[in-house]
Symmetry: C2
Subunit: 183 residues, 2 copies
DNA sequence: TTAACTGTACCGTCTGGACGGTACAGTTAG
DNA sequence: CTAACTGTACCGTCCAGACGGTACAGTTAA
């Protein structure tokens, strides 16, 4: 098979990972092109070779989000414990690839990045649909909001290198609550 | 009564309100000193006359938050429908002074502003305490998270001049859910 | 087989603008 | 007279992005 590329673009993935990390750990303001290039171990020129501008970097990150989210939605729909329980459990930070892109995207949404906001809204709608199929349309929003609230609080709790709080007990109480909502 | 000031510092409140508005509607990055001064109808020199630096502006905004929050907590504790129902109802965006400072503070927390993060954590703890007194310690977190999730989603839904979604139905379903959690 | 060439994957530097903040001289109004 | 401003000019830093290179893998043609 012929190789179209002279060398493998190792920098490209490294840059994307670095961008994601900076968004997660230090917020959008810290995720400058210079900082991303530095963390990725790439020169700024090299970064801009792969991503002509910052917007392009964001857009590729959102593609990564879409891809991982599609997998997650499939798993949620097929979860034996039910979509709602799956959703609650997966609302806790576990440092999975999906968690990482999702939080990174949240950082962008926070600074009112339009395209990101649109995608996040679509994501919420998808989740709501699956939840409604599981717990009924009336209780879908309460469940969605419980999960989102868990996420929200975990995000607020992040300091610089802050230890992730013991959310295990929280998940337990949310699952108990879920049982009551199911009635 | 003697007037110590030659004129009333009208600019001061105007600046603070403008800062708040910019944080809410356009995010932290847009809330630059120049932008704040412009929106407040004040010169940049005038702004810096009252607030020697940006940090000072933030700190006065957080004082405003503390003040309004203390009132809200008192109302929540005394609410006839119960603290939890009061909390859910007040988790919806109503453009009250408290809503405004709170969302503004959230924007600062989002960019990892340390002092803001500390205050927000304290706020959550206060709410949790009152909720636990109302619905019991086991169901306090689920209720807290439902309210936070509502807030979180409202924030994500904000576009430029985006119409606030019909959250009335959401509140209804959350109150229904609250009833089941109590039962 | 090898020299000439092509395209990809980078590197390092520079520029123009924005931002936070300083300084300070003047103006208005109680 | 003094507090509350306005307005402008400026500084240092940081940032997005442009630009001109370099290194080298693969391709082509003599």
């Amino acid at each position: 098979m012929m190789e179209r590329m002279a060398r493998k673009p190792v920098a490209r993935e490294a840059v994307l990972d670095a961008f994601e990390s900076l968004l997660i750990e230090e917020g959008e303001r810290a995720a400058t092109l210079d900082a991303v290039a530095r963390l990725a171990g790439v020169s700024k020129g090299g970064l801009l070779y792969h991503f002509p501008n910052k917007e392009a970097m964001i857009s590729v990150l959102l593609e990564r989000l879409d891809r991982l989210l599609a997998e997650d939605l499939a798993a949620m729909a097929a979860a034996p414990e039910g979509a709602a329980a799956f959703f609650i459990k997966s609302s806790v930070w576990a440092d999975t690839p999906l968690d990482r892109v999702f939080v990174a995207a949240t950082r962008l949404a926070e600074v009112a990045h339009q395209e990101t906001l649109r995608r996040m809204a679509a994501v919420q709608a998808s989740w709501l649909e699956l939840l409604a199929a599981d717990v009924g349309p009336a209780m879908a929003k309460p469940v969605l909001y419980m999960g989102d609230g868990l996420y929200f609080n975990a995000m607020l709790a992040r300091g610089p290198g802050g230890p992730d709080p013991e959310v295990g007990a929280d998940v337990e109480s949310l699952l108990t609550a879920l049982g009551r909502l199911r009635g």
